[in-house]
């Protein structure tokens, strides 16, 4: 019963927080100069004043701010995210169209970064001052500090232009004909470069964190005990130490779920990846309030779900968590 009421309180707070975020952002967008009708005019190469006034009236943009805000919040409360002014379609439909591409990109990149990062971290933790460790540190910091659009363009020039292994842009080649397998391979080929660019930022975080926690764990008493028992080295490292060192890494991965929107914007732009990041960016530039707030709403949901998943995974990996 305690547990249930705890969950209910958390959900209640989450809803209040979400509403506060929506109101705040609605206000912020409203305060920015210009509105979506200007962007619509831009997309049309200009428009006569009467046309602009007509569109403003139709979208209710000529109404007082409080009226616009309350109508919007009222609609959200009835689970209607509204209609995108700029894209001329329901926001929910628009977001659902884009979300698979982003999830594919971000999750693949996260898994890759986590997997490679942990391996690199462990390797360098075993010989903290070795050549390999220094190399890993350098490599990770380089990936972290290089701007992702620069890495992306560089990868494009190398692997799409000079060595033509991977396609330049988009998620699929519509001129490719064939069955499901052919299309799967096609998407995979398009995925490689964006994933590497995006993973290069996260890699540093994971490898540094894994290295630090591994160093700490390797110095702890039970590891010394395990070694004293005469267990083989790899068993000590991978079975005893690594399992304990993983908790912070998983927590970090959970926090990174917010990157679904933020981290992917640049990579999506460079590779014309049809995801949520580019949509969010373009909607902000276009002052397309319903779309921006809709994306915010969805990413908040993703973060909440992501946190739940993280909790769950932590409990699985670390028995100490289950006791709580």
């Amino acid at each position: 019963m305690d547990f249930l009421s705890g969950v209910a309180t958390r959900i209640f707070y989450a809803i209040i927080l979400l509403l506060a975020v929506l109101v705040l952002n609605f206000t912020l967008i409203h305060l920015a100069p210009g509105d979506v009708v200007d962007t619509i005019a831009q997309s049309m190469g200009g428009a006569d004043a009467e046309v602009l006034a007509k569109i403003r009236a139709e979208y209710g943009l000529d109404q007082p701010f409080i009226y616009q805000l309350s109508t919007y919040i009222g609609r959200v409360l009835s689970f209607d995210l509204g209609f995108s002014f700029y894209y001329n379609m329901p926001v929910t439909e628009l977001i659902l169209q884009r979300i698979p591409a982003t999830l594919l990109l971000v999750i693949t990149a996260q898994l890759l970064a986590m997997f490679v990062g942990v391996i690199l971290g462990v390797i360098s933790a075993r010989r903290p001052n070795g050549v390999l460790s220094n190399f890993v540190t350098f490599f990770a910091l380089f990936g972290y500090s290089a701007p992702v659009f620069w890495t992306g363009i560089l990868l494009l020039i190398t692997f799409s232009l000079n060595i033509q292994w991977f396609p330049v842009a988009g998620m699929r080649d519509v001129t490719v004909e064939g069955g499901a397998w052919v299309h799967f391979v096609d998407v995979l080929r398009h995925l490689v470069l964006p994933v590497i660019s995006l993973a290069s930022i996260f890699l540093a975080l994971y490898s540094r964190l894994a290295r630090a926690t591994m160093l700490e764990t390797l110095g702890s008493d039970y590891v010394r005990t395990a070694k004293a028992k005469g267990l083989p080295d790899h068993q000590v490292v991978y079975k005893h130490a690594l399992k304990n060192a993983l908790s912070p890494v998983i927590t970090l991965a959970g926090l990174q779920f917010s990157a679904v929107v933020s981290g992917a914007v640049l990579v999506e732009t460079v590779f014309s990846w049809p995801g949520l990041g580019t949509l969010a960016f373009q909607s902000i530039l276009a002052r397309d309030t319903p779309t921006i707030l809709g994306i915010l709403f969805f990413s908040a949901l993703v973060v909440i779900v992501g946190n739940l998943v993280t909790d769950f995974v932590l409990r699985m990996v670390d028995p100490r968590m289950r006791a709580r």
Partner: protein, 525 residues
């Protein structure tokens, strides 16, 4: 003035277009998938309710207009096989292709033309195109007569390109709002050479050949895939490695030069006259020192056009001296070019009463327009004006709406801007100079310029059907504006078409680039 074009003339017109192309010896081949690219997702695919170049690229394939234009700015038959303008200029009669059908097989009738005109009048952003049209008569299924309140020469260009798309009444006349009609982006029933297969916003538009197109043997292509790639560097790489065959409206000098050097790639600046893009320095003539015409002239003399064209634009852009695009037959290049003359600029500023005071005359702001690639020109102007003692502060604007708001409400001193002619001056030029259009939002008369003679000239020219007289009126207009400098013209935006060696008859003939049908484009083996 009677203008009748027979089928015979039409045939010769097509032959002559093919013959003037670079590939005169080659016979066009049927089939193939052309992959082209757009820089952003079109809001709407129906050009009757939305303008703009991305809507145009798709819209002009899906929907046909009555006319098309050749590179000499001569109207050619398209959906209208012939047309007449009555002697008093008040009736324009269109004779439609008799075997033309919409993509659902329904015949294209004169009532559809009447319906399309009504929708465009009500929903298209450019009101001036059809505002003089009082009614459309339909004496028979294949004849539409546009009745005009006064002679309206701009109508000819307004009936071509993407500007007058004929849409089916039986689809769009169902009572739903045409602007947000569900069939604008899905299950589109068009009148053009290609029909819509799939539109995925953010990814691509796929179109395929419409087998029932009235012109036998056209279009040549089986399919057109228009991909959406916002990043210009990514577009360039995709062109170089052959993923994309054709890209239009590319205007970044560095990329133009890179493509000129690329193997198997051709670069052309032709075919953009109708679009008519011009870069300029807008000056708010209603406040500060800019109210004085001598200050504005001094600014023009202080800027080295040669440096802009050769160094900043790297030789990719044509010069523009007036608000009419240099490719237009109405362009008047015989005006003051304001060749660099620092002494004269200084003298004019002294005369205007802005004496040099410790190396400085006055402060002024210059907005940095948030379009990609406009920073170098803006920074050069700041530096050039500092030489005559004008201290320029550059205001960076974060994004388009912020900038548009400043411009639309005339809350600026100077700004670079890029404005398109859209065919006839009545459509895209008048809006910048008419005193009745001051501060009516972005790309209106944001300079606050007002000159009674200019208003009169533009009003007369709008109704003058005699081409020679009309040209003279516009020549005088360009002369006056050039002298009063509410705007200093920088260059004709270096719009370029990049096309691979594989493309036959690329869309560089004509005046509308890819905002016109690609029915004659073909792919080599």
């Amino acid at each position: 003035m009677k203008h009748v074009v027979t089928n015979f003339l039409k045939a010769t017109a097509i032959t002559s277009i093919l013959a003037t192309g670079a590939v005169a010896q080659e016979t066009p081949k049927m089939g193939g998938t052309l992959v082209t690219v757009m820089g952003s997702t079109p809001r709407v695919l129906n050009p009757a309710v939305q303008s703009g170049i991305v809507t145009g690229l798709v819209g002009a394939q899906l929907f046909a207009a009555p006319l098309r234009y050749d590179e000499g700015w001569n109207p050619q038959p398209y959906l209208a096989k012939s047309w007449e303008v009555s002697d008093d200029g008040l009736k324009v009669t269109l004779h439609l292709q008799e075997n033309a059908t919409f993509h659902d097989g329904e015949p294209i009738k004169s009532s559809d033309v009447a319906f399309s005109v009504k929708i465009i009048q009500e929903f298209h952003p450019f009101k001036s195109m059809f505002s003089p049209v009082t009614s459309v008569d339909t004496p028979d299924e294949h004849t539409a007569v546009l009745n005009l309140a006064h002679p309206h020469p701009a109508l000819m260009l307004a009936m071509s390109g993407q500007l007058m798309s004929i849409i089916p009444e039986h689809i769009y006349g169902d009572g739903q709002d045409p602007k947000n009609h569900p069939r604008n982006n899905e299950n589109v029933v068009g009148s053009g050479p290609f029909k819509l297969v799939e539109f995925v916003p953010g990814e691509h538009v796929i179109m395929e050949r419409y087998d029932g197109f009235w012109e036998q043997g056209l279009p040549y292509l089986d399919k057109i895939v228009a991909r959406i790639i916002p990043d210009s560097a990514a577009r360039a790489i995709a062109l170089e490695n052959g993923e994309i065959h054709l890209s239009t409206f590319e205007n970044q000098p560095t990329i133009v030069n890179r493509m000129s050097a690329a193997k198997g790639m051709n670069v052309s600046n032709d075919g953009y006259g109708g679009i008519g893009p011009i870069d300029w320095l807008a000056m708010n003539v209603t406040r500060g020192p800019l109210q004085d015409v001598r200050v504005r002239q001094a600014i023009a003399y202080a800027i080295d056009k040669n440096f802009i064209l050769k160094a900043v634009m790297r030789g990719t852009a044509k010069d523009a001296l007036t608000g009419v695009h240099p490719d237009s037959p109405l362009y008047n290049g015989d005006v003051n070019a304001y060749a660099l003359d620092v002494d004269k600029a200084n003298a004019l500023l002294d005369e205007a009463g802005y004496g040099m005071n410790g190396g400085k005359r006055f402060d002024i702001t210059l907005e940095l327009v948030p379009f990609p690639g406009y920073k170098p020109q803006t920074e050069y102007i700041k530096q050039a004006l500092s030489k005559v003692g004008i201290n320029v502060t550059i205001n960076a604007t974060p994004d388009f709406p912020s900038w548009a708001k400043k411009m639309g409400t005339m809350d600026f001193d100077m700004s670079l801007d890029s404005v398109y002619n859209w065919g006839d001056p009545v459509i895209g030029v008048n809006r910048t100079y008419m005193s009745s259009n001051i501060a009516k939002g972005v790309w209106s008369n944001t300079q606050g310029y007002s000159n009674a003679r200019v208003d009169e000239l533009l009003a007369q020219a709008a109704e003058e059907n005699d081409q020679a007289k009309r040209k003279a009126l516009y020549a005088e207009f360009q002369q006056i504006v050039n002298e009063e400098v509410p705007i200093y013209y920088l260059n004709a935006v270096p719009m370029h078409t990049f096309y691979s060696d594989k493309i036959g008859n690329p869309p560089i003939t004509g005046i509308w680039s890819t905002s016109s049908p690609m029915d004659r484009v073909w792919l080599k083996d």
